[in-house]
Amino acid sequence: MIEVAIEWLGNALLIVGAASVLIGGIGVIRMPDLYSRMHASSLTDTMATLALFSGLMLHSGFTLATIKLMAIMAFLLLTGPTATYALANAAFRSGIEQPRSLNTDDQEKSAP
């Protein structure tokens, strides 16, 4: 009984993870500027990683594979947001794209 419940929970988590990847992908295409696109793609970095790997861990039980999955998850959860930070920082510093809010602030200041 409990095994069936764990398996279904794992399945549900896998579906949630896959859905996050899909939503993130759609967001990257649909969002208007770089920063909101990165916000969408960060969903695949964090939410999808957590859900997919938790689901896989529930499926594999207490084995060596679970330890490996945990290590990979910790690695991805560390590096993903760091890469997102580095990308956002590089975009901001190089001035390729200003965040929307900063643009409107500038306009409000320059308007009067």
Binding site: F75, L78, T79, T82, Y85, A86, N89
Partner: protein
């Protein structure tokens, strides 16, 4: 299911390749090349070539991207347009090569066909005798370091020559001046998050490199992969802490010593085999028990390969990173 995934990946490979050709921005091309290598690594993995996949992921997606980026720092961001006349020559060459390649695939056996000539030549001998002759299961390591040890020795010398060549061309003018000093000094020191996370990762990368190096007989990996992974760790350190700190931790002389020492170690094992009465790189004469002797020989030459690859990649990276950009020099 695997075949669907493989087809999907191959389609993505073609799309990425077309995008690389189309883009004029070299930064975008570099990033796409990195993606191309990663897709290629996954493809190799699907084809059960874990050793090659590891190399492609570490060298192709990792080190090469950083080397390309540090090379781009020295040049312009945009591709210069080619002449219309030379474009026609390029088109003719590409079309001819494509036709030749496609015609070459027409009569080849199917993927994974056990009756294919390539699986009937020497491969059965390797598969049957690796366990008995070497005492470990990874056939790739056995082929690479013992059955075809001469080829690998040649590859190590190629790596050595490549590193020496890059140094000859690029080390002629090291950067100087206050602006350069500042950049060299700083690295990414003002970025707290990458520094903290990178510093956390470097020990694990080194540990994984050593694991791949000394576990190559039993799992995927070996000297080439380990050298690339260890080099990646040191390159990350150099990016985070700046050139000066990195060169203080791992000087140019130490890198040269790794390249020369690695190649020499490999060759010396062969010479010792000859002195002991065997043929060049015949490890079985090194000790009483031929199986143990082969294992010892393979561990030593894999160490030589790892040292040479690590030193070569690091010295190529530093040749680019320590050089002054041309625009700045003027």
């Amino acid at each position: 299911m695997t075949i669907v995934f493989a087809l999907f990946l191959l389609t993505l490979l073609v799309v990425t390749a077309l995008a690389i050709v189309r883009t004029k921005n070299l930064f975008i091309a570099t990033m796409l090349l990195s993606i191309f290598s990663l897709l290629m690594a996954v493809n190799f993995f699907i084809l059960d070539a874990a050793d090659v996949a590891l190399t492609e992921a570490a060298v192709g997606a990792g080190v090469t991207t950083v080397i390309f980026l540090s090379a781009l720092r020295l040049t312009s961001q945009y591709e210069r347009g080619s002449l219309a006349s030379s474009r026609w020559i390029a088109v003719i060459v590409v079309v001819t090569t494509t036709v030749l390649l496609i015609s070459g695939t027409i009569n080849t056996p199917n993927l994974g066909d056990p009756n294919a000539p390539v699986h009937q030549h020497v491969a059965p001998f390797y598969l049957e005798n690796t366990e008995a002759l070497m005492g470990f299961p990874n056939v790739v390591t056995a082929v690479l370091s013992s059955f075809r040890g001469y080829d690998t020795l040649g590859e190590v010398f190629v790596v050595f020559i490549a590193a020496v060549g890059v140094m000859f061309i690029l080390d002629a003018r090291q950067g100087t001046g206050p602006e350069y000093e500042l950049r060299v000094e700083k690295g990414l020191k003002h970025h707290l998050i990458p520094r903290a996370v990178g510093g956390l990762l470097i020990p694990f990368m080194l540990l994984f490199g050593l694991y791949v190096q000394f576990h190559g007989e039993y799992g995927p990996g070996g000297g080439f992969q380990a050298g690339a992974i260890v080099a990646t760790a040191f390159i990350l350190h150099a990016i985070l802490e700046g050139e000066r700190t990195a060169l203080k931790a791992f000087s140019r002389n130490a890198q040269m010593a790794l390249i020369i020492g690695g190649s020499t170690l490999y060759g010396a094992v062969g010479v010792v085999c000859m002195l002991k009465g065997g043929t060049f790189l015949d490890y079985s004469v090194l000790m009483e028990d031929p199986v143990t002797a082969r294992q010892v020989g393979i561990i030593i030459i894999e160490l030589g390969v790892g040292m040479a690859v690590c030193g070569a990649l690091l010295s190529i990276f530093h040749s680019f990173a320590a050089r002054k950009p041309v625009a700045q020099a003027k």
